[in-house]
């Protein structure tokens, strides 16, 4: 009996001792990610890095991204984050990670040697995890993440289907797009598909037109509560979706369609146009290698302001500020984003590299995607974002318009009501 009790006590003490032991520097780095399609290439590169430097990088995959996201948050709460990881959440959550001391400020490394590392990467991609002076999150200005690739969302068109409907060139304006949709319908081709069952893609398309119709300042003023969603410009944005519905542009079931299904529909030539991100090149290649398609930005509806597409870092890694291997982790990420490694990543995974020099390694279609990068925008680089509850109401409202359930005016009023409620709530709690 005494022996049993002693063993139990020893086990408890051993556990406590293990818990309190601070992590020691080592030659092994741990990297967590969520990208199933990049696992093999990342492992291959990690092996190459080990042979070169003697530092082992354990590349650990946790998919799908929703589960990964929850895992990272749980690990942050338990303070067991790895040396290198990615934060897939909104910028406000990234700010919370930084405030909790879980992310290293990479600015000194990026700026070293006249900013060689920083300048080799797309500015828009770096901005994803950067904070400007006076940012609304209260974070010390700096660069906190390393993008390993970039992505943007644009419109794709099937050249064969367009030719079948007698359309020679892809549309340049929204009106052209509607006309093309009629021509396509006439020959029995579904004009447009997108995975709008995933609300962020719907949000992305809407914000493209919001920027085009009213300019970014007015969009941000709406987030600040200075402009109402019932404003005529916002009604025009909602009206874009009403026009898509009324003109029979959309594939049936588009509002509940996951992006995987939408990708399948476009790859199997069931729709002439699609709205998708640059990762689709890899997907379409696997689904239908003979698919002949091109890339255009969504056709603008107004000349008032430029139509800005969403483009940013595809996948960004951060370095755990509490890791004893911080410097080694930074050195590995520097190596991973250098031209040669970026070319390997781009070639093998068909993603746009974050290193500007490596763009030559990509396919012509990806090069077309990359043209939009410099003029792109993204919620992660905006000075502020809309309240997530309002965003959700906005996206649900767009869905309601797309199925003909509500008018733009009704949706505008409902979204504004949610906005007012949220602002009142925040003021009350403040």
């Amino acid at each position: 009996m005494r022996r049993l009790a002693s063993v139990c006590c020893c086990l408890v003490l051993a556990c406590l001792a293990g818990c309190s032991q601070p992590p020691q520097p080592s030659n092994k780095l741990i990297l967590w990610h969520w990208m199933t399609d990049r696992q093999d290439t990342l492992q291959k590169l990690a092996q190459e890095y080990k042979e070169k430097t003697g530092i082992e990088v354990a590349v650990q995959l946790f998919a799908p991204s929703e589960s990964y996201s929850q895992k990272v948050i749980a690990a942050a709460q338990a303070n067991v984050l790895p040396d290198i990881y990615g934060i897939l959440d909104k910028k406000s959550i990234v700010a919370d990670f930084i405030k909790a001391g879980l992310v290293t400020d990479l600015t000194p490394d990026m700026e070293a040697g006249g900013g060689v590392w920083k300048n080799s990467l797309y500015a828009k991609a770096l901005a994803d995890k950067s904070f400007d002076p006076g940012n609304s999150y209260g974070i010390k200005p700096g660069i906190y993440g390393v993008p390993i690739d970039v992505t943007n969302e644009q419109m794709l068109y099937n050249k064969k289907l367009l030719a079948k409907a007698g359309i020679k060139n892809p549309p340049q304006t929204f009106d052209d797009f509607l006309k093309d949709a009629h021509l396509l319908r006439r020959v029995g081709i579904t004009p447009f598909v997108a995975g709008w069952g995933e609300l962020w893609l719907l949000d992305c398309f809407a914000s493209n037109y919001a920027f085009n119709i009213m300019g970014e300042q007015k969009v941000f003023d709406t987030f600040r509560g200075k402009v109402k969603y019932t404003d005529p410009d916002w009604l025009k944005v909602f009206g874009v979706f009403a026009q898509l519905y009324k003109n029979g542009v959309l594939m049936n079931g588009i509002v509940t369609k996951g992006n995987k299904y939408a990708e399948q529909d476009f790859a199997l030539e069931r729709a002439a146009f699609a709205f998708n991100g640059s990762w689709c090149v890899n997907v379409y290649k696997e689904m239908n290698p003979k698919l002949d398609y091109g890339v255009i930005p969504p056709p603008p509806i107004s000349n008032a302001y430029p139509l800005k597409i969403w483009g940013s870092a595809g996948s960004t890694f951060v370095v755990n500020a509490q890791s004893p291997n911080k410097d080694k982790a930074i050195a590995f990420l520097k190596w991973l984003t250098s031209e040669k490694q970026q070319e390997v990543l781009a070639r093998e995974t068909n993603n746009l590299p974050s290193n500007r020099q490596a763009t030559v390694a990509v396919s012509p279609i990806l090069r077309d995607f990359s043209k939009g990068m410099e003029e792109s925008t993204h919620p992660n680089i905006w000075p502020l974002n809309e309240d997530p509850t309002v965003s959700e109401a906005f996206d649900r409202g767009l869905q309601a318009i797309l199925i003909g359930d509500k008018t733009p005016e009704q949706v505008a009023q409902e979204v504004q009501k949610v906005k007012d409620q949220q602002m009142a709530k925040h003021n009350r709690r403040r």
């Binding site: 009996m1 049993l4 009790a5 139990c8 929703e66 996201s69 948050i73 942050a76 709460q77 959440d89 909104k90 406000s92 959550i93 700010a95 919370d96 990670f97 405030k99 909790a100 029995g188 579904t190 995975g195 069952g197 995933e198 609300l199 594939m251 049936n252 079931g253 588009i254 509002v255 509940t256 369609k257 996951g258 299904y261 529909d265 199997l268 069931r270 997530p388 509850t389 959700e392 649900r396 869905q399 309601a400 199925i403 359930d405 709530k425 709690r429």
Partner: protein
């Protein structure tokens, strides 16, 4: 002195017993009691999952009381449950009765009827997404259901089942019943096989027909089993989640929201962990109430 040594012995024995229970007790506390406590605790905070937590008392609950989308989601789950309680369980009962008789291939049917419940909800969602696909290619409907409706002379019935507010929830409810009826079928079949055959013979001798035998022998004998199936159906259907995600992704506007999708959305999309916990607490209380009522009902039936 002897008393003292007896007391020490009892203490020693109790300590020994406690040591044996300790691992199970520790696991129970860590994985059940603590998360439960933490969930209730978090429901009083404004928290985004990381960063500072702000105590806001009952504000999350107050907000929840006025959140019509939340109460609609409860109604949606109730509707799915109602379809399951009626359509799914009636189907399970009658198929179980059919398979309880001496019919050809009854073993085969038993296996076939039990396939849907053992399939993953994601797989079921994918299969039904294909069956319900409303799109056409080269003039042909891609989805099996619309294709069959069109080919069998009912083109007016061809429909976008999951993207129409009038049909989306019912479609999900029917698919959910299709997936779930196998459990009820197996339990009811087991229940039917426990009914003493002599009761049927006695009823026959007394001149009871098929309907009378069914209402006076089968149904009363099966009532406890039916109640068990009902409780399991209610608890299972109220928590439906993966199937909805697999069929309509983030949902059709708010027409396909159920409590678990609302909780998930509050955590995943809007980072309102405190609010999500308040939703989970209220939902848990509703489920406890339902279980309590059905338990009382079950006890009443047993005593009757």
């Amino acid at each position: 002195m002897k008393l003292k040594s007896n007391g020490a012995l009892a203490l020693k024995n109790n300590f020994q017993n406690f040591l044996f229970v300790l691992p199970a007790f520790a696991i129970f506390c860590i994985f059940y009691i603590y998360p439960f406590y933490k969930m209730i605790n978090l429901s009083f905070y404004d928290w985004r999952g990381i960063g500072p937590m702000h105590f806001i008392g009952l504000s999350n609950y107050q907000e929840l009381m006025h959140d019509h989308l939340w109460w609609n989601s409860i109604w949606h789950a109730g509707y799915i449950t109602l379809i399951a309680l009626t359509f799914q369980n009636a189907l399970a009962f009658f198929l179980a009765m059919a398979c309880d008789r001496e019919i050809r291939l009854k073993r085969f049917y038993r296996v076939v009827f039990f396939i849907p419940p053992v399939l993953s909800e994601v797989v079921v969602g994918l299969i039904w997404n294909w069956i319900l696909n409303p799109e056409t290619q080269n003039g042909q409907y891609i989805g099996l259901l619309n294709h069959l409706l069109y080919a069998s002379g009912f083109p007016q019935m061809v429909h976008d089942w999951l993207a129409d507010p009038a049909t989306a929830l019912s479609t999900i409810a029917i698919v959910n019943s299709w997936k779930g009826f196998g459990w009820g079928f197996i339990i009811m079949l087991a229940g039917l096989q426990t009914i003493d055959k002599q009761l049927y013979e006695a009823a026959k001798i007394d001149g009871a027909g098929t309907w009378k035998t069914f209402t006076n022998v089968t149904v009363p004998m099966m009532l406890p089993v039916i109640l068990v199936v009902m409780i399991l159906t209610i608890l299972g259907c109220m928590q439906v989640f993966v199937l909805i995600l697999a069929m309509v992704n983030e949902g059709l506007v708010n027409y396909t929201d159920v409590p678990v999708t609302r909780i998930f959305s509050a955590m995943q999309n809007t980072n309102q962990f405190g609010y999500a916990c308040a939703e989970a607490v209220i939902f848990g209380m509703i489920l406890v109430c339902i279980s309590f009522i059905t338990k009382k009902l079950s006890d009443k039936v047993k005593h009757a």
